[in-house]
Symmetry: C2
């Protein structure tokens, strides 16, 4: 059984801490531990061996800080240090590996230590290059897998994972450091981490460092609820404490082992220790856990998209995708695009957020501008001012890819459709970068007039996505909505198709709602009525104008009526912000 | 096979005209034909015999004008004339009846010749008494059936049918005189006649006089489309013409027979001739038609309610029942009731009609007033000013019955429910007077909290109605709607029950929509949103306030979207009457 096959099917044991053991062996404060790979290789090999002796399946190279931003030394290059670290690991493993008990060497990649844009000044591309360099050294020297760890920023981990995946065929693990509230340093939550890392296609994800095993259990539970991947758990030996000017960790091997048993029972698949853990900790853990049954990895059906701080988990309660960042039919917006007036565009987005949008559609397509450059810029800037997930809306797949690459989180993508060319170009991007994609029920023959045919195209899109390993939870079907004044049966067909798609495939759905009323008087009324009907037929996330009062009226009233609004509190709050005479103007109850 | 069993299963042949034959035998202009029953019985018997000789199954007594309002003679009483007429008929039949060919004597009842209130000054009760008297003479003297004919007013025919049904156990036929447009003299249409007569439980209904057989064919087609009863067709021998100062009819026996063959092929079950037809016409007709196959009588599933002028046939397009004639929560309305201010009440009704209601609910229940008297009076007065069908809304079954009795048409009744006592008291009234009844899904245990139980009660109501011969097309289920601010799941349960009742039983549905929003701010918005959702879940006829702009907005928009409004014309017309800023006030599209 290859390593790849074992992940999630067998318990796999990592090693424990390296730093504490190096200090015991004389590492001075301020000294770079990675230097010992060349200055004191036997100490490194000895520590590796101790972990292998107690049964660790995977050991980490001594390369946590080995990247161009952290490691600067006049005597020795980064390449030499990484190469030495790998050779030390391999030397240790050579003696421990048997056919019955193969052992694996993981290239350890830690954070750069710098903040990425827009919070800091490290660009995403520079971060990528830094990680790429280390990955290339790892591949050249033949590691078995890449372990990205102790990450506190989803954007940085995205750069690292992309670097690992684009520059190797190795399994990739990624673990983040959470606080006791289940938040990253950047504020990111568990759902945002899962959305991002699963979207990027890592082989296992999880949590390391920062907390002891007890503190990790609630976070593990959250991970287990939403993640469909094998879970890595590598706690410290408790929380760091001071004694006589020295940092120590107070969870002893027996207690550590006991808690790690609980970790396995609660769903951990790949376990080990981080700061403060020793071969004794790992030995006790392995002895206690070796024969525990493995929690099966199960597919979770939740649709999640994310921005850097927050994963948006879809529930039965409908969501609102704001439609206003779009030049179509908006001369002012076009003007802003041409004049590179980003402030105008950001204001539109903020107004949508203020009005109650949950996701912002971003469309900057205009014949005279460089859509790709503009899209990347607008996405970056928007992510600097709003924490809402974005929907990248373009027919230009190079603009789509560029935006997906630099997007901090897991975006919505608008859109793919039933045309062969569309599926062939969009699905590989979803597969690579992660994302939830809107599938339009049209194909080479245009938009079908019948419910049956639209449902059929939806099925085709879902089926084709599956070939890429893209689950239907990441497909949101748009059955398309025609202008009812031109197509008398149009609304009925759309509503029936919506319902059928929802029922037959169990997928989420969207619609560009306001098309329906084109050419009619009183468009807000028609839009709101159709929106209400679509919601009732299973519309998961309509693309609407959240600043249109009639639409938000319908949304809040619908949610109150359908028990998506406890004690009607959101509705009542919404109404208290609306002038009563506007709502009841001209009406008699 | 009894006559009752033959109706609709075998072709039955009436006789033809009497008047023309009497004139040939010396009846003078202005002379009452009924007098001949005693002054010249042998002529009457001879004419009867001639019809029996050519094969008529049923002959009519010579009593068309024999009622207290038309027949006044110093020498002879009405009773003597009717008795003599029946005896003449029986004498003729005695010689013709055999076991193989039984012949039947029908008591002929024509109109009173007076206009009923409110158009004329004949009260409904007086008309009833006049018909009752004749029916009693018929029963005393042993006729086989009662044939009410040449009626041009649904209200008068209702009095006659009620008199026949309440004072005899005989089969009752009723035929009306239509013009070429398919309208009664009072403006009533085919649907209103069918709704009324089927509701009253006649054994056969149809058309006689006024038109020749060719002119009756289109009306027969309309009858056939909507009626579930055997159809009577008795045309004149063409249209009356003048020649040398004399009236004659120009359809000769052979042509008459040919057209009557077509009548049978198009669905006529009981055929004969009216003015101008002779034994020769009837002979030719019987010879040509005797062996034609009989069109089976089929149940029509249309729900129809009616006012005097118009039958309202339910289609898939939803209807509006106006809720405003109701004192609940309306101090002014209560005041009007107490002060017997009918003008106020009528104005409410007219305002609802103007606003677009299709049916008006009438509730005048108030502790301090005589509800029965008030209900009767309001129904009468309302029917004097509006042609909309009324919904009699009361928990007092004596008020309900009194109103049903004097109602001109087939009313909606609000309501029956799943309680034994309710079904036992309401269904007999529906059976007797006709009506479409709203069935509330509550029973002895109150209003159930679950969808399943409400659906179960709906099934019980439908099943119990069937025992009375009341078809589910005359049951409109109200699954009841609670206040969502008090019952968070209430709207969901109501909507789900509505859908399930519609799908499982295929019945029409109603709801008192505005209950839903009690206690919430912005009630018009919640009401309109819920109304839209209910419409989409199959609400056939919501009870709403048609003067509430939000509700009519929702209604017109819904109908336009669901293709119930060709080219959105009604919607556009409606919007052109609405100030645009009211609709779009505060909204950005
Ligand atoms: Zn650590
Ligand atoms: Zn006639
Ligand atoms: Zn006649």
């Amino acid at each position: 059984m290859s390593l790849q096959e074992k992940i999630g099917r067998e318990l796999l044991f990592f090693d424990g801490g390296m730093g504490t053991l190096l200090q015991e062996r004389g590492l001075q404060p301020g000294e770079l531990p990675e230097l010992w790979n060349t200055t004191n290789p036997s100490a490194i090999i000895e520590i590796h061996k101790r972990y292998l002796d107690v049964g660790s399946d995977i050991i980490l190279t001594n390369t946590f800080g080995a990247n161009a931003l952290k490691f600067h030394n006049a005597q020795i290059s980064l390449k030499e240090v990484v190469t030495a670290a790998i050779n030390n690991g391999k030397a240790a493993i050579a003696s421990a590996t048997t056919r019955e008990a193969p052992r694996y060497l993981a290239l350890d990649i830690g954070p750069t230590g710098k903040l990425l844009e827009p919070m800091g000044d490290l660009s995403f591309d520079r971060a990528y290059d830094v990680f790429k360099e280390v990955v290339e050294f790892g591949v050249e020297n033949g590691v078995d897998l890449i372990h990205i760890e102790t990450m506190s920023d989803t954007y940085e981990v995205k750069a690292a994972v992309l670097a690992a995946k684009e520059n190797s065929d190795l399994p990739v693990f990624a673990t983040m450091i959470f606080d006791e509230e289940g938040k990253l340093l950047t504020g990111g939550d568990v759902a945002s981490v899962i959305a991002l890392l699963e979207g990027l296609g890592v082989d296992a994800l999880g949590i390391n460092c920062g907390l002891g095993p007890a503190g990790m259990l609630p976070i593990l539970e959250e991970l287990q609820k939403l993640s469909s991947l094998p879970l890595v758990v590598k706690p410290n030996a408790g929380l760091p404490k001071q004694r006589g000017g020295k940092v120590y960790y107070d969870v002893e091997p027996a207690e550590f082992a006991q808690l790690m048993k609980e970790v396995v029972e609660k769903g951990g698949h790949i376990i080990g220790g981080c700061c403060g853990t020793t071969p004794e900790h790992v030995e006790a853990m392995i002895n206690l856990c070796r024969n525990l049954p493995v929690n099966p990895v199960t597919l979770k059906e939740e649709t999640i998209v994310s921005a850097y701080g927050k994963g948006l988990v879809f529930t039965e309660k409908p969501l609102i995708i704001g439609e206003r960042i779009n030049p179509t039919g908006k001369p002012k917006f076009k003007q802003a695009l041409k004049e590179h007036n980003l402030e105008y565009i950001l204001k539109e987005g903020l107004a949508e957020e203020e009005a109650g949008a949950h996701i912002l559609d971003v469309n900057v397509g205009l014949p005279d501008i460089d859509e790709k450059a503009m899209m990347v810029e607008v996405v970056k800037e928007l992510q600097g001012v709003t924490n809402l997930p974005l929907q990248i809306d373009t027919v230009d797949t190079s603009a789509m890819e560029a935006a997906m690459r630099i997007y901090n989180g897991k975006p919505l993508i608008n859109s793919v459709n039933g045309k062969r060319s569309s599926m062939d170009s969009v699905f590989p991007l979803i597969k690579k970068y992660g994302g939830t994609v809107i599938g339009l029920t049209l194909d080479e023959d245009g938009i079908p007039e019948t419910v049956e045919k639209r449902v059929e195209i939806a099925g085709k899109i879902i089926g084709e996505a599956a070939k890429y390993g893209i689950h239907k939870k990441d497909i949101i079907i748009d059955v398309l909505c025609m202008t009812v004044s031109a197509e008398q049966e149009g609304a009925k067909i759309t509503l029936a198709a919506l319902k059928e798609v929802k029922e037959r495939f169990g997928v989420r759905t969207t619609l560009g709602v306001s098309n329906i009323s084109f050419g009619l008087p009183g468009r807000p009324l028609v839009n709101a009525t159709f929106y209400t009907m679509a919601l009732q037929n299973g519309l998961s996330c309509g693309i609407i104008n959240p600043s249109a009062k009639s639409m938000m009226d319908a949304y809040y009233a619908y949610c109150a009526l359908m028990n998506f609004d406890e004690n009607c509190e959101n509705y009542i709050g919404y109404m208290s912000g609306v002038k009563e005479e506007q709502v009841s103007g001209g009406m008699t109850l």
